[in-house]
């Protein structure tokens, strides 16, 4: 029996898993359309490489990875691309983002898949490339491109932790995956272990999932996996946080600002291991995932759903009850409210919870903080949530950072126990994104300063160079004169020289130049008159007023520019 460790704090919310974990995984019906966002992962959006009207096959790349941190996006089934446009996505902002809409043709016809019987013979860089092209990202919710994490600098990683803890209430997708597809998860873990040069694999599963633990243990025996263990860990929220699980399994404390990889541990979700296996062994891209549909529905269960399946079409298969008033993606603790039920399932969609007033009563009004420090007792990151709240709500961002705001994993344990019902996590999210924005604009300002200073330097240098050139020319002219006066030329030649020198050297070219510029301006004005912008008519009075002020400002700037130009010419 392995001795386990403890992390600080934690809570025991009602698990609500029994509703959805008794039915096997069901293949979801083919939806009428698929709305596939190009930004489903951490990093750069994928770039669309198909056109509207084009027919695509199941598993074909429709969005290519762009830049270092990015991942590919694929057609989940065969069909025709209906549109590539901005649509609502599963993001708390409700702001539209670029999506590809695919109308399935029902044939479900695969693209040619490159299967691989002997992955051990494939170079590691190749394996990583295949994962990137297969769009494999972390399926625990973070959606970080997996190829980026499957790299061991100087072979320093000793332990691969597979996260099957699934600590959040309601969610059972990993539980069912482990029960039904344990062998393939373990095969995926072997690939990960090889890529990381890790020695041991520890699979952490909370002890409220005995069937999953049993299935994984027998699969380890059947598959004769060495140095691999499925460990039952105590059920406590948020025991499935990466840092928390690592702590429980290995006793390693990942300190503030540290990465677990520096301490020899890398952590992946069990679903990611499964997808890794499908991608490498069968050449199948990540085009579907297991989604728990639960909450206010008649038959809560797990579906294997194609990415892009509209939430309402998926939930319809579980019989939503009439008093449903919205959906949560993820769990009740860390999930987000979906802006609409039309958005497509994405790689990070582990769970969809239909909300009703009886299941999720509206939040009670918040009271002032009484500094009871119950939040401190439960915080798994050992922070001072009440201080963080104080600094965030007074927008004292510097102080919040000093109190390690960025170590907060937004688990919501603090809000859960707060007797004053303060939505603490919302304040932390606000403060974090405010700090990010300030950081970005600071970076932009620094870059602008640098460019400005460089430009000033360059202008100075050009001036200097011009002056030098002029001085050199003058000097040369003086020398030539001195030479000429020293040795006067014969008179005949001198006459020829005069005609040469007297030609109006500078007047003519400049005049033609000016004429040309004027002609060009006239031409462009004509063109501008023809291509008149279409939105200048039927303006609201407000818009007209705005335009008038802008025009006035333009005129003033022009005047200023003219007068300064005049001054220059006078000089």
């Amino acid at each position: 029996m392995r001795s386990l460790f403890k992390f600080h704090g934690g809570i025991h919310p009602a698990s609500n898993k029994a509703q959805s974990n008794h039915k096997p995984i069901t293949q979801a019906a083919l939806p009428s359309r698929l709305v596939i966002p190009l930004h489903q992962h951490v990093g750069n959006s994928a770039k669309p490489i198909v056109e509207a009207g084009q027919r695509v096959l199941k598993g074909q790349i429709i969005g290519a990875p762009e830049g270092h941190v990015s991942s590919a996006v694929h057609a989940p089934t065969s069909g025709v691309i209906a549109a590539i446009d901005m649509q609502q996505v599963a993001h708390p902002s409700g702001i539209p983002d670029l999506c590809i809409t695919l109308i399935p043709d029902g044939d479900d016809e695969w693209i040619a898949r490159e299967s691989c019987d002997d992955w051990q013979a494939v170079a590691h860089t190749d394996l990583r490339h295949r994962l990137r092209d297969a769009g494999v990202v972390g399926l625990g919710g973070a959606a970080f491109p997996s190829d980026m994490k499957l790299y061991s600098h100087k072979h320093q990683i000793k332990t691969l932790v597979l996260n099957g803890a699934e600590c959040e209430p309601y969610i059972t997708c990993d539980d069912l995956l482990m029960r039904e597809r344990a062998a393939e998860i373990l095969q995926g873990a072997e690939i990960m272990r090889a890529l990381l040069y890790a020695e041991e694999v520890l699979i952490g599963i909370e002890d409220n999932k005995p069937e999953a633990i049993a299935a994984m243990r027998s699969a380890i025996l059947d598959g004769k996996h060495q140095n691999m263990e499925a460990v039952a860990v105590p059920t406590i929220y948020p025991g499935g946080g990466a840092k928390q699980l690592i702590r429980v399994l290995t006793g390693i404390e990942v300190a503030a600002g540290m990465r677990s990889t520096n301490l020899g541990v890398q952590c992946f979700n069990v679903g990611t291991a499964y997808s890794t296996w499908r991608a490498i062994r069968h050449g199948e891209a990540l085009i579907s995932r297991i989604v728990t549909v639960t909450g206010n529905v008649g038959q809560p269960q797990n579906f294997e759903a194609l990415l892009g399946t509209p939430v309402n079409e998926l939930v319809a298969q579980a019989g939503p009850l009439p008093d449903t008033r919205g959906y949560i993606m993820g769990g009740p603790m860390m999930g987000i409210r979906l802006p609409s039920a039309e958005v497509g399932v994405i790689k990070a969609t582990n769970c969809l919870i239909a909300m009703s007033d009886s299941l999720f009563p509206p939040a009670l009004p918040a009271l002032p903080c009484i500094r009871c420090t119950r939040c401190v007792d439960v915080c798994p990151a050992e922070l001072q949530p009440q201080e963080l709240f104080w600094f965030a709500q007074s927008k004292n961002l510097l102080k919040a950072q000093e109190y390690h705001l960025f170590d907060c994993i937004e688990c919501g344990a603090c809000s859960y126990v707060c007797p004053s019902n303060i939505p603490l996590v919302e304040y932390y999210r606000f403060a974090k994104s405010e700090i990010w924005a300030q950081e970005t604009s600071k970076k932009a300002a620094d870059a602008a300063r640098e460019r400005h200073e460089y430009r000033e330097l360059r202008i100075e240098r050009e001036k200097q160079e011009k002056a030098d050139k002029l001085a050199a020319k003058e000097k040369a002219a003086l020398e030539a004169k001195a030479l000429k006066s020293a040795a006067p030329l014969p008179p005949a030649v001198e006459g020829a020289n005069v005609s040469l020198y007297d030609a109006p050297v500078d007047a003519d070219p400049e005049n033609t130049m000016q004429l040309k510029i004027q002609a060009a301006i006239d031409h462009a004005k004509q063109q501008a008159a023809v291509s008149k912008p279409e939105n200048t008519e039927h303006l609201t009075p407000q818009q007209q007023a705005e335009i008038a002020t802008i025009e006035a400002r333009r005129a003033r700037i022009r005047e200023l520019a003219l007068s300064s130009a005049d001054e220059h010419t006078k000089e």
Binding site: H39, V89, H91, P92, S93, I95, D97, A363, P365, A366, L367, P368, Q393, P423, E426, Y427, R429, F430, K432, S433, E434, W436, A437, T440, S441, A444, A445, D446, A447, A448, R449, R451, H452, Y454, R455, I517, A520, I521, H523, A524, K525, Q527, A528, S531, R553, R554, I557, R558, A561
Partner: protein, 182 residues
């Protein structure tokens, strides 16, 4: 008594030498206060404060010649930062041009005649082009200063407001009012 005086004098001379040496060795180029002020200015280099750039405005503030509330791109937040830095009170905005949302310049490439005037106006070299060639704005480098708009002889440069999107979206400040305990 004399020895005490001598010792004190020797210490004074030694310390003086150290100070003098330090003053030369660790001489700070430029005015550090100007640098600090410049560091919080937005670096749009637009001249709307009445100075030809952020650094000159920073210099004017440091010399006490300019008020802290004249930079429109910095907005209220910028004034707060300057007030904090200089230990003075916050003042409402006092310039002529009101702060407005951030924008970037956009050149209508069909009408550009390639005169290069905008390149000469751009304070951060964010315009690419060559004589008689179509010009274009490098949006990522554009600070939105609007200085290129006026010089364009064919009026083909427009300012386009930067819209909120998924990557620049921010979580809003929670709107739950705190209910006073009865």
């Amino acid at each position: 008594m004399l020895s005490a005086l001598l010792v004190m004098a020797a210490i004074a001379i030694a310390l003086g030498a150290v100070l003098g040496f330090a003053a030369i060795k660790f001489h700070v180029e430029g005015n550090p206060l100007v640098e600090k002020i410049d560091a919080v200015l937005p670096q749009t280099q637009c001249g709307q404060c009445g100075y030809p750039g952020c650094k000159p405005y920073a210099t004017a503030i440091a010399e006490g010649a300019a008020d802290i509330n004249l930079c429109p791109p910095g907005g209220e937040e910028g004034i707060h930062k300057l007030a904090d830095l200089l230990g003075v009170d916050f003042k409402p905005f006092g310039g002529d041009t009101a702060p407005k949302p951030k924008a970037v310049a956009f050149i209508d490439e069909n009408n550009c005649i390639g005169c290069t005037l905008c390149i000469q106006a751009c304070p951060v070299d964010a315009i690419a082009g060559a004589a008689k060639q179509m010009h274009t704005i490098i949006a990522a480098e554009c600070t939105g200063c609007e200085l290129c708009v006026a010089p364009c002889p064919v009026d083909c440069i427009d300012m386009v407001e930067i819209e909120e999107n998924i990557s620049n979206w921010k979580w809003k400040y929670p709107v739950y009012p705190l209910r006073p305990a009865a």
